[in-house]
């Protein structure tokens, strides 16, 4: 069930001739505004105003193509404008993240975790947290596949954006997140088998 404004958008974009051209132009303006909004939020990640405007234009164009290709999948569960905004924001955010990381190396090394001091069970930690961290390290080493280790370390420890990692691995964002999800689940099972509850640490400290 579409609200009146959303139904008018769908009807105009599905029509022919001048009405369709006009609706497509208005849709592009809407997407460009959303893309510029997103660029503005991420201004610190972009080199200059000209770069930002070009990035917004490219993102709005790509979003327009995707919206038009998926028009028949709009179910009216939100306003049409909200539905199209998310395409513009996704395209813009992805381009900004890739721009930010384009000159940065991603190690793609399944064993990089072993060199990370963050995971050390060092003396600065409380005994319980130290035991938990040691178990996490053990889980990463023994319970995960090399690919799961690589994805977990890149995303969770090195902060590589998931779409950047997907691009470097010639994969998709959904597939990479699935790998991350499976790795996390295996780690949680590994901890549970040793009677450890990661949620318990913070609760006890706060109590």
């Amino acid at each position: 069930m579409h609200d009146r404004e959303s139904a008018a958008w769908i009807a105009a974009l599905s029509s022919e001739g001048h009405e369709q051209e006009d609706a497509t132009r208005r849709l592009h303006e809407l997407l460009l505004r959303a893309a510029r909004f997103e660029v503005g939020r991420r201004r610190s990640s972009i080199d200059g105003a000209a770069d930002g405007e070009q990035l917004a234009a490219d993102a709005a164009h790509d979003a327009l193509m995707k919206v038009l290709a998926k028009l028949d999948t709009f179910r009216g569960e939100s306003r049409f404008t909200t539905w199209v905004y998310k395409f513009a924001l996704l395209e813009t955010a992805t381009k900004v993240r890739r721009r930010t990381w384009r000159d940065r190396e991603v190690a793609l090394d399944p064993d990089a975790w072993s060199r990370m001091p963050d995971l050390d069970a060092g003396p600065q930690r409380e005994a319980e947290a130290s035991e938990l961290m040691a178990a996490v390290r053990c889980g990463i080493r023994e319970a995960l596949t090399p690919h799961q280790r690589l994805v977990l370390v890149s995303v969770a420890l090195e902060g590589v954006p998931i779409d950047v990692l997907a691009e470097r691995l010639d994969s998709t964002r959904g597939a990479v997140y699935k790998t991350l999800h499976d790795a996390r689940r295996k780690l949680r099972i590994h901890l549970a088998e040793q009677g450890l509850d990661p949620e318990g640490i913070g609760r006890e400290a706060a109590a």
Binding site: R41, K86, R97, H181, P198
Partner: protein, 72 residues
């Protein structure tokens, strides 16, 4: 939240069941409209909140859509 809690959160992800990135994108517009209207988006879209806790990229896009709707 301590640094260890934050680190464990990133490594272990959300404790509860969550949806995936594709499902998240599919339902994001509905979820955010309910959220911005002051409703209960987590009942309407189970597993979304957990996914946003576990996926920084989807969280960024969620936050942007919330900000955009609030700015309009």
């Amino acid at each position: 939240m301590t640094r260890d809690d934050e680190l464990l959160g990133r490594v272990l992800g959300p404790a509860g069941p969550e949806i995936g990135c594709e499902d998240c994108f599919d339902k994001l517009d509905r979820y955010v409209e309910i959220e911005v209207a002051g409703g209960d988006p987590d009942t309407a879209v189970p597993g979304m909140r957990e996914h946003l806790e576990g996926c920084p990229a989807c969280l960024e896009e969620h936050d942007s859509l919330v900000a955009l709707l609030r700015a309009r």
